[in-house]
Homo-oligomer: 346 residues x 2
């Protein structure tokens, strides 16, 4: 990369000081703590700033104060509402705390460890989602003295972790489906793909056990629409038999449900379908998809907040912080229609 231009207009704290007839210390003061500067001087400085179009170079400040005032966030990608909401929460809270957010999307990176190293260079702390960044990379950041929080990932000593509740809501949801009289439930999605999912499967198992019923092995497929469609096709050929599907997320649930319906089957009469995440589509399809709403924005906010506290010298929290989730009943589970439709999330 050839970079020709210099940063900024060229106006520095020096030129501003000169223009205003004061010292650079005074200029710095009117920017940091205006109240300690005499009104007259302050105004002269502000005028100089204005006429010179002075924009401070944050790097110089960062160097002097010895921190970046920025948090990094590593997410896999942004398709679907999940990560976007997480990011919104994170950014909002970070901004409230005066921190910039530098975003790194892992899926599009050919050399992620390198990208993470680079990122670590310009932030005070890092939030990473699940297991997107390899453990050694995380350790490097930690050893460099920068706090790391893991969102919806494996819990490990030394890194704070934040997650939504999964197991007990999964158990409730499964129990709910069982109460509808369903006998052959299938959990669709690979529990080993992410801690979140394994937690959900654990709940699935738990609900069966407490009724002394034997839970089926999970159907280990990935979480994209395509995977759901393919699975539905295999159901249509009789390869899988079930009267209820507990899907690892809504995308899966929706694609399966739609495929089955298009093939002439009825949801929930022939098979009930439930999912996870309460994406927008889940409110619009018919029957409405029963699902679990997670406080995704809250996860982001909490992450930003913890990062800031850790940077400010707070102690790392040794056990994972778990945020509650909420089951949203619609009709795909077998519940009767007629309830007022769940409102869009605020």
């Amino acid at each position: 990369m050839t970079i020709a231009r210099q940063t900024g207009s060229g106006a520095t704290i020096y030129s501003v000081a000169e223009h205003a007839g004061v010292s650079i210390a005074t200029v710095s003061r009117v920017i940091q703590r205006p109240e300690v500067v005499a009104a007259g001087t302050r105004q002269r400085v502000l005028d100089a700033i204005e006429t010179l179009s002075y924009v401070p170079v944050s790097a110089a400040r960062s160097l002097a104060v010895r921190h970046h005032e920025a948090h990094g966030l590593v997410l896999p990608e942004l398709s679907g509402p999940y990560y976007a909401e997480l990011l919104m929460g994170f950014e909002a809270r970070a901004a409230e705390l005066g921190q910039s957010v530098i975003l790194l999307l892992a899926d599009s990176k050919s050399d992620l460890p390198r990208a993470v190293r680079q990122l670590a260079t310009r932030v005070d702390a890092l939030a990473v989602f699940g297991e997107v960044v390899d453990q050694p990379s995380v350790q490097r950041v930690l050893q460099a003295g920068k706090p790391v929080v893991v969102i919806a990932g494996e819990h490990r000593a030394g890194v704070e972790s934040i997650a939504a509740e999964n197991t007990s809501s999964a158990a409730q949801l499964t129990e709910h489906v069982l109460k509808h009289g369903r006998k052959r439930l299938l959990f669709v999605g690979d529990p080993d793909a992410a801690p979140d999912i394994s937690g959900r499967y654990a709940g699935f198992v738990q609900a069966h056990r407490s009724r002394r019923r034997k839970p089926a092995d999970p159907v280990r497929i990935a979480f994209r629409e395509n995977d759901g469609t393919a699975f539905a096709d295999r159901m249509l050929t009789g390869e899988h038999v079930a009267d209820a599907l507990v899907c690892a997320n809504d995308e899966l649930a929706l694609s399966i449900m739609t495929r089955l319906q298009d093939a002439g089957h009825s949801v929930p009469d022939d098979v009930a379908v439930v999912g996870w995440d309460d994406v927008m589509t889940s409110r619009y399809v018919r029957p409405g998809l029963t699902t679990v709403r997670q406080p995704v924005g809250g996860l982001g906010r909490l992450a930003a907040e913890r990062l800031h506290e850790l940077v400010s010298g707070g102690a790392v929290n040794d056990d994972p912080q778990v945020l509650p989730t909420r089951i949203v009943l619609r009709q795909s589970c077998g519940c009767p229609p007629g309830g007022v439709p769940a409102p869009p999330r605020s």
Copy 2:
């Protein structure tokens, strides 16, 4: 804010140099241009870096090289796929070009101008969406010597602008609906809300004119689901009469369509509905929503790329760059079912 901890583990280029028994210049070289350093020395330095967990402080580098190697992106928010895709494209391209991306979400900020000023402080260039940031703020950044590109906004001299094509695809779409024999079309959404929307309404008008028909005035409502629902209610009372609705975006189209259907009306038999954006839900509802797909990721990529070129000394492009869009026909416009469903976007 009280910030106690210092950035980094304390390891600096000095401690690394000392540990490796070389000068800091050599350490700097093995990081910037390893090939100019003798293999032996290089290894010693790398070892030192490793054992000291050295992570460079980007601020110091930025200060020395006089640029930030970061681009700012200001978006209103991230609900819905539109901005998220834009951001994904932007981030991916920026990363390819070695630039970090600092994200600022406008909607959650109480003092946006201040936030923008702050942001300008730490980036070499800025991309802003539409009219989210006020003109004076944009001018400041520009005058400070930092390039700005506006995405899907008003075109102005001195700022580069990038947008998706709207008018001609709107004309085609409207024409398509007219061909289905619809007589009373309504454009739903406020054209003054954004340049994108006014372009779409212009196409709507154009299509009518070329058939010597008089276009109706636009229904000036906002673009959220709630607004659509409220509008649908007004249709149900007869306040608005139409046999086809050209909606400013999919969220509007979907909420209206669903409400009308829930009230017993048939789409498209009673009223055709079309939208804009091709969100995920549009594939899943029945009838499938006819809509216009925009190259949203492409907008983001292009913005990042132009920013980088501008920072590297490129000249600002005086006329707006317009990316093509594509009409996605499903059944809500009156087209017969049976076509293979449009695949998910890749």
